[in-house]
């Protein structure tokens, strides 16, 4: 859906390229996260996809078409764009802000209004309540939801998101992340998402692109990167709790020893996990109940057990 081929960009008066020979592709319906410290070129890469920046070398292909051959404004109307500063137009109401791209595309009035109302509801806002307000009358979290609604307005197949949840407090951020992941289940956009927060990257991403000083360091699924970091830089980026993060991404059923009876010494009825729950939850349950083992259930049926030893062995094996 989005393919970058040896993209290079050097800003005037810069000593090194901001982006240096970066190639990767994003599959349809996936969330691809560009992650790295500031100055790694992640935002520049994102802006080259919708031609807010022009690469010095290499090609960007969207849906098989080279963006260089497309009109920049027309291209941008087909790509949703969310930025950390949000950039709502202060002189337009929330409703008018969300209606921006459909207006540019000259949709009929009635259709725009209907779509705007639907979208505001979709991002968890009360259309009748906030629709007529101006951006400065909203909270940071509300504004960011409007930013997402505006980007989704013309139903673009692709979304570019530059630290979209970076400006809100941690509690609101987690809620916005969860809501966005739920929204993505229904809208199934192809998303390029920039963040410097590795935890956000692991949580939100189907596919991670790790960057350092304009160069691509490693790509892969969150679990692939956690279990096989390419070098010390990736290792340090992942943090000291890499093992715990792996357990957060591992389903209990993948480590359990299958059984169909409740063995002796397995902690009681209140202490059980479902097969699809992460091992991290199993661990938490075991600690809470001071148990060495826990039952793994599929619905109302016991299907396996998971021991402290199983988990330890697994972490040691995968994280070397």
């Amino acid at each position: 859906m989005i393919r970058l081929d040896h993209i290079t960009k050097t800003f005037p008066d810069a000593v090194r390229p901001a982006v240096d020979q970066v190639s990767f592709h994003v599959n349809k319906g996936n969330i691809c996260i560009l992650v790295g410290p500031s100055g790694c070129g992640k935002t520049t890469i994102l802006r080259m996809i919708n031609r807010l920046e022009e690469p010095d070398g290499g090609d960007v292909l969207v849906d098989g078409r080279n963006v260089r051959e497309m009109d920049p404004s027309a291209l941008r109307r087909t790509i949703g764009y969310v930025i950390q500063q949000i950039g709502l137009l202060p002189h337009r109401t929330i409703e008018q802000n969300v209606a921006l791209v459909p207006e540019l595309l000259k949709w009929p009035r009635g259709k725009i209004r209907e779509r705007t109302m639907d979208l505001l509801a979709m991002v968890g806002l009360e259309p009748g309540e906030v629709g007529h307000k101006y951006p400065h009358q909203l909270s940071g979290g509300q504004m960011q939801r409007v930013g997402v609604a505006r980007a989704l307005a013309a139903d673009p197949p692709i979304m570019l998101m530059d630290e979209p949840f970076g400006a809100v407090d941690p509690i609101v951020r987690v809620r916005l992340q969860d809501e966005f992941l739920r929204l993505q289940q229904t809208v199934k956009k192809t998303i390029c998402f920039v963040t410097h927060d590795i935890n956000e990257a692991i949580k939100m991403g189907d596919f991670l692109v790790i960057l350092k000083q304009g160069r691509l360091v490693q790509t892969g699924s969150p679990l692939e990167i956690l279990t096989r970091p390419a070098d010390d830089f990736v290792l340090s980026l992942l943090g000291d709790d890499r093992g715990v993060k792996i357990l957060d991404l591992t389903r209990s059923e993948s480590l359990m020893t299958p059984t169909d009876t409740l063995p002796e010494g397995l902690c009681g009825n209140g202490c059980r996990v479902q097969t699809v729950q992460p091992v991290k939850i199993a661990l938490e349950m075991m600690m809470k109940n001071n148990a060495d083992q826990i039952g793994v259930w599929r619905g109302d049926e016991i299907v396996g057990r998971l021991s402290w030893n199983d988990i330890k062995t697994h972490v040691n094996r995968v994280s070397g």
Binding site: N50, I83, Q85, L89, P90, H91
Partner: protein
Amino acid sequence: MNFDMNIFMDSLLQRAPGYIPEHFMLVVIPLTIAVLISLPTGILLTRPGYRRHADRVMAFFNAGQTIPPLAIIAIFFPFLGLGYGPAVLALTIYALLPIARNTIAALSAVPDDVREAARGMGMTPGEVLLRVELPLSVPIIISGIKTSAVLTVSTAVLAALVGGKGMGAIIFAGINFFRPELILAGTIYIGLMAVLLERLISLAGWFLTPAHLKGT
């Protein structure tokens, strides 16, 4: 110098009002020309590619403001002679700066993230200017036009010295004949005109100002 109430009332009610339309035109024509020059110039000088020329052009406008209007008329005397035309020219040059300066300041004050988001949504540069930058700049641009308008109302008095007519005729007559009654009568109308024009432009500005900026 004694003050004769009869002469004053006669000047105020009979003689001076006749100069009002003339003086008004001496303000409106230069002001309109100045807006037509300064607004596009200000817009152009905030566009990428022309921004680097901003300092030089503004230096020219600044110079226009520092040269006394009479000196401008003197400079252009060999080409334009005396009378209405040179007076309008001098007043126009004098009115350029506040409008151009405020246009540039207003457009530069539009937050980058707003402009950036507008571009990112797929607005063309022209749409960004007309739908985002200019509406947000209205209050500051209007205040520049007001400054120029008030400035021109008082400076236009000097037009009478070069045969450009206007309220200056009665004021300078008062100076020449030692008649403070004439000076006062003319000045009252100058003051009223300045206040009125200022309110008029404010009103126009209010209609152009986006709702979220009103009442602040």
